[in-house]
Assembly symmetry: C2
Homo-oligomer: 240 residues x 2
């Protein structure tokens, strides 16, 4: 269903680059569900939030040069090791920690995502643009059926978003001016970084990204080319 | 159809990495056909061979440091510009040269390739490992329907095959020991490079890679784990 006519500039967009964690997959719900199964004595909701909360500070240590270049799998593991005692799980051995850390490869997509991406894929080149590493993104996509045409990551550009090298890197890979690439994300700082580099931007509401106990403000903010409820609405707006 | 039982070590292989030009797609036939359409006065067979013959010397200039890091799209264009006068096409303007250079994004797969890859994808992670750049590989795959799980390239590792950084790079991306990755290629030097890094190797016969006027010796050579007529035979041997 097409709710409005697609804006005329959409015909000049060739590539849609997707943020992943929170935008395409539900990290909070997936981690909370897996914790409920593996360690039902733990508050899975709080555990997921604590794990994710360690993510930006860990990336900041890499970006500042305090840590060398580090894959997100390894940053997730550092944060995991740090939070386990807080949840009474300090006894987990190395294989158990490794298995749990791989939950980031097993995140479930938001319900409409796969079908919407299949629609968008008919007209656009679909690529990931995530701080997640290539192995993580590939295994996640294979399990979840995410139909990427290309898998791009901070790992390729050796910089995390919102470093301009990542947004401009996508345009360069596809030999396109930045305005022919659109970033799709549920996070305004990510979209602002892309916009500053000349990319088109589409905001996707994900009010439950942090769980039902902590709903997110998804009010429209100025500056984005599109504001969509979900990826199905994005496909509608783009006339797919 | 499974002609032999799959060798027992195949159960420990998780990733198949594919050479592309000649192994998965028919560069010679595709270029000769496009030349026949665009410039029927030119010997398309000879033109395709001349273009491809310039490829290794151009990469060697990059690897020696004479040229800085260069995408294959740009190397193809350098070689194209050099050979056009030999074929009476020195009058082609920049848009015509650009269009012709993009023929490398429009190469057709060998007839059995797409269906065989779909079979292999049920059990293995499928990635490209090509000297072709990411944009080229992505657009080729989208047009031809090649169902990659991941697109890896010399561009990611900043080194061309047979540099060990490429083969070991695939193992590292997927956090696997090299023996759990198999390179699939129609070229013995590529396979030898992978083998020296500890990867498994599968040779694929492509007797007509250089066209019907120049059939290739596809006799088995020692050292490869598998020797297959084509990708369907590879899927048979791997029990897919």
């Amino acid at each position: 269903m097409q709710t409005d006519a697609a804006p005329p500039w959409t015909t000049s967009v060739d590539v849609l680059a997707f943020d992943i964690f929170g935008t395409v997959v539900d990290w909070h719900g997936s981690i909370a569900r897996e914790m409920q199964q593996l360690y039902p004595q733990v508050d899975g909701d709080a555990f997921a939030l604590a794990w994710r909360a360690g993510y930006r500070p860990a990336m900041a240590r890499v970006m500042s040069g305090e840590l060398g270049w580090t894959l997100i799998d390894d940053l997730h593991r550092m944060v995991l090791d740090a939070i386990l005692p807080r949840f009474g799980l300090e006894h987990l051995d190395a294989p158990a920690r490794r298995h749990l850390n791989r939950v980031w490869h097993r995140l479930d997509p938001w319900p409409e995502a796969v079908a919407a991406l299949q629609r968008l894929k008919q007209r656009f080149i679909l690529t990931t643009l995530s701080n997640g590493n290539l192995g993580l993104l590939t295994r996640m996509a294979k399990r979840a059926g995410l139909p990427w045409d290309c898998v791009l990551s901070a790992e390729v550009f050796r910089a995390y978003k919102p470093d301009p090298a990542t947004y401009l890197g996508v345009a360069k890979v596809f030999e396109l001016p930045p305005a022919r690439v659109m970033l799709v994300a549920a996070h305004h700082d990510d979209l602002a970084g892309a916009r500053a580099c000349g990319l088109r931007t589409a905001y996707v509401e994900r009010p439950l990204e942090f769980g039902a106990r902590q709903p997110k403000d998804v009010a429209p903010q100025p500056g984005n080319d599109l504001h969509c409820r979900d990826l199905a609405a994005l496909a509608d707006r783009l006339g797919c």
